[in-house]
Symmetry: C2
Subunit: 161 residues, 2 copies
């Protein structure tokens, strides 16, 4: 499997996660925007995911939940800025358990010779907010999710490319 | 007049501007959200301002223009995240002349004993985007705007407090 790179510098309210995939950017875009695909790879380990709302357009709102085995749910919400496309997806992000703490989450898909570099760039209102995300296991979660995304893309590839 | 503080650290994609005003946070919120008040203080020196759209609600869109004397206009747009209130205003921000470069702009109003600390916190997708803003005269522009805001608040105060 490819490796996931996470850049999180001290005292900088930003996390940049990158990973290269053997897939087109259109397929990666679909894996990020089709709820039936998204729920197969995106949630942290041991959580499942449901998508409550996903209005994929400029100004559209989105909301999803992660669920623990005991039924505890964690809800997240935000708004798409600009028209989401295989060029990229820009949205705001807020964990409903910590209202008022908002981040800007940009996903870009950079295709080169049939392979695509995926970048998740998140900037936070403060370093404290960023550090909370890191302490909640963001790095390990990202690596695990990206592994599952790679497996999903392999399952889709025969019919999609 | 009070002084404007601008924090912009090297290699950090963020600018934080603060200034204390002798006014309630409700009045400061109005000066930020009533287009007739906003255009009186917000534009950079030598530019005038018109507000094209200002849907002040969660998910609402906004768009305004700054105009040079020769008729050149600079348009900006974005979306409000969460319900704007005297607690704060969170929105995305994009200069239409540089599409795809988006920032997250949070304004908070912290009242203490009749005075209010105003904070404009902007986080960018990259340090390069932040540095472009700084080089375009953001600091001087902020100081000038805050002076005009102070003058506006003094004009409003007799009827508003």
């Amino acid at each position: 499997m490819a490796s996931t790179h996470v850049i999180a510098e001290p005292r900088v309210p930003q996390v940049v996660i990158t990973r290269e995939f053997d897939a087109s950017r259109e397929l990666l875009f679909r894996a990020h925007t089709d709820p039936d695909l998204l729920v197969q790879w995106f949630a942290p380990p041991r959580l499942t995911m449901t998508v409550d709302r996903f209005e994929l357009r400029d100004g559209g709102t989105w909301r999803y939940q992660h669920w623990a085995a005991d039924g505890t749910d964690y809800s997240f919400r935000g708004i798409f800025h600009g028209e989401p496309s295989p060029e990229g997806i820009v949205r705001t992000f807020e964990f409903e358990g910590m209202p008022g703490h908002v981040s800007l989450w940009t996903v870009t898909f950079s295709e080169r010779g049939g392979r695509t570099l995926l970048t998740h760039n998140t900037v936070y209102q403060s370093v404290e907010d960023r550090d909370l995300d890191l302490r909640s296991g963001m790095e390990e979660g990202a690596d695990d999710s990206m592994d599952r995304l790679e497996e999903l893309l392999a399952r889709l590839a025969p019919v999609s490319r």
